[in-house]
Amino acid sequence: MDRRDFLMSTAVLTAGAAVRGFASPSDTVRIAVVGCGGRGSSHVNAWSSMPNVEVVALCDVDESHIAAKLKMLETKGKPKPATYVDFRKLLEDRSIDAVSLATPNHWHTLQTIWACQAGKDVYVEKPCSHNVFESQQIVAAARKYDRIVQQGSQSRSSPALQEAVKRMVDGELGEVYMARGLCYKWRDTIGHTPVSAVPAGVDYDLWTGPAPKREFTKNRFHYNWHWMWDTGNGDLGNQGIHEVDIARWGLGVTHPTKVSAIGGKFMFDDDQETPNTMTASFEFDVKGVRKMMTFEVRHWISPHEAGINGEKPGNTIGNQFYGSKGYLVIDNYNKYYSFMGKDQLPGPGATAKDEHWANFIGAVRSRKRADLTAEIEEGALSCNLMHLANISYRVGRTLHWDAKTMTCVGDADANKMLTRAYRAPFVVPKNV
């Protein structure tokens, strides 16, 4: 099926009011998991553990992934879902209510747009976009087709973090002027992998999708695609986007005025293209008041900060918020604590696990996008911070961001990187 046929068929589908209404909580939400690798396992497990949610389809370009997930569902005593290699085929199934995307980053927006066009709701992994242009298009598609689209930034659904942000909004920390995000995560060298035959059972062309077609290497494929600009966004756009999102949420900011990043790929000589160490600074103007964000990515040995992860050696994933009355720390995804005043006396704190999957299903039933904790526009705004930091790193300059025109003022090189050259027929449309 070529692209034209596909668009036509989706047009028919939407015109035919494919949207089901969810009258009551007892109605089953029929969901498809797309991208069945590591993160996809969590998706399959989560949806199949929820009442009145059924995983009705699995889609992956790698047969071995599908086999593993079928086994998982079988073990759980769940009905056997339909399986697909080509996502476009899956969309033709009118009985599917929602798709759950855990594909590589370079596919997120295009698949979301196609799903919206096909009248389906979408749970899309973070980052929801691979570049700034996609951030705009994904929101436009969600609006045009009036879909429930959630980004997989699950901390947004943690009652503890919601409480932390509310305290800041209520002024308990005084004027919160700066946020910090930390992504200190051990990343060993990925080495060099030679060009090799595409593994049996893999549709590499489909995997490549919008990206330029390149010869297969293991490092370009499963997981390590994160470290190639064609497909990933480095660790800032992998683990880091969670903490970028939390920082933006707590600070109450949208578009930056300025973004600067500096970093490098240290220690290793390997295939990785993205920096393994990077510090980014963002400035915001909130009605004439300056707010700041600093973000640090470190790939190797680094101390914990602010008590995050306690005495346990290893990664440091979290956030700090600095206010005129004290500072507040987010420890990983679901925990916060604070220190108040000059004597840094312990202030409020809480730990509470997120219900992000349930939040999505709830909104799918209610049809109210306001019910979503990580509605796609929020996700897209956070992704833009990450994209701009990566661009600043790559061009080696401070970017002056104009939110009205969605461009970097006077920086043609940077503006080129706001989008990509799409490989037909995998094109994110200018008009969704």
């Binding site: 220690m267 700041m292 040995i301 101390p303 700090q320 600095y322 009355k325 220190f339 840094q344 401070t398």
Partner: protein, 489 residues
Amino acid sequence: MSDERTTGDGISRRDFTTRIGAAAAGLAVGGDLLGGALHAAPSVGRGILGANDRVVVASIGIRGQGNGVKRGFARLANVEVKTLCDIDANLAPERVNDRTLTEIPTYKPGFVQDLNRVMDDKDIDAVIIATPNHWHALATIKALQAGKHVYVEKPSSHTVWEGRKMVEAAARYNKVVQVGTMNRSRPAVRDAIKFVQEGGIGKVYMARGLCFKRRASIGRYPDGPMNAGETYKLNAESGGTEPVYDAQYLSKVDYDLWLGPAAKRPFNRNRFHYNWHWHWDYGNGDSGNQGPHQFDIARWGLNKQEHPRRIQSSGGYFAGEASQETPDTLTSLFEYADGTILEFGTRGGFTNDEGGPRIGNLFYGSKGWVWIDGESGAKWQSYFGPKNEKGPGADGTAEPRGTVAPAVQYAHYQNFVDAVRAGDPKLLTCDVLEGHYTSSLPHLGNIAYRVGRALTFDGKKEAFEDDKKADELLTREYRKGFEIPKSFT
């Protein structure tokens, strides 16, 4: 002449010199006699000192930091603090009769208000400069031209350009110039740096400097003398109050001389003692106040005898309404030509630490990481591998406690005096060029903040690439009569 001024105990300076000279068994006199004969042009001060010669110093700027430094020098063996100098004569009685120095028989300083009088005094071998930052370079160059050695507080300069002029002047007049980044002479810090430089944590790719020091709002005040009955606190959280800077007090202050190279402005209590740090005409913010110590250690550990190639800063002032011009929160990032990164964080607000000291340094290597405590200068610790296992370090217990020999307690001052006696700048642990590279870091970080963009710096030319606006901030406008020479012939 200043020497005629009476000291606090009523004896004149000239009398005192005679008395001290006799007491010192003629050592200083010997130096004087030999000096004139041996010394080559163009120096005009005393000649080359012998290993046992008394070193005679003057302290310029004696209020806060200067008071402490002068105490250290006064306690060194065979060093005489001959003259105290400050534009604020109100300070004289207490500083001259320093109660902590009563047991030091050679501490009987005179007092002068004008540093030019210090320069005129041929007895003085070396000057300690602990003035506000905007005076450091000019005072240093005046001293060098007068044939004196210089111990100058950090940052050595107020701008990059004048820092270079100091380097040129020190070379031209062949004198010893030590910059007051005293961690260079602290044994524990030296051990830590040696460990880092010798590959103790593997290949070091990044260093971080932290200046997390609480700074409350300094408020805003009208120009002019304070009124009787008014009180003034340095900042909103200060425990005590400052003296009342009323007309009577200011009658003993040479504010015009205090302003020196800076533009003429009326007196303002916030643009005077200490709080000058937060105004660009005189200070360099906390990155250029506490910061230079940690900038110095970061650059030292990275072994960079060069300027960074790229600089970015992001920050602001968030502590509430005040006359402060400098940011109280600043993140500055520096990239050297080989890609090595130096990160610097200045925070005046409430903040966490980063696994080590709040005032200190972190080094990141392929095998482990290290923190160095910049407040004690006596503690550091290394950690290794995924389990963060403790490696070599120092917990401060090895440091001398209680009554210790001044040469140990004041190692940086002693190092300077040793270099002065030997007439050899190479003995210095932080000479004027090291100080220049270090002081340039906060200057460059501040410039990136002020122009609001990433900068590319040509370290050889000491100019930015294609950025006239930023270039302008590499120097300042010098007020007539307080210019720094463009060259030294």
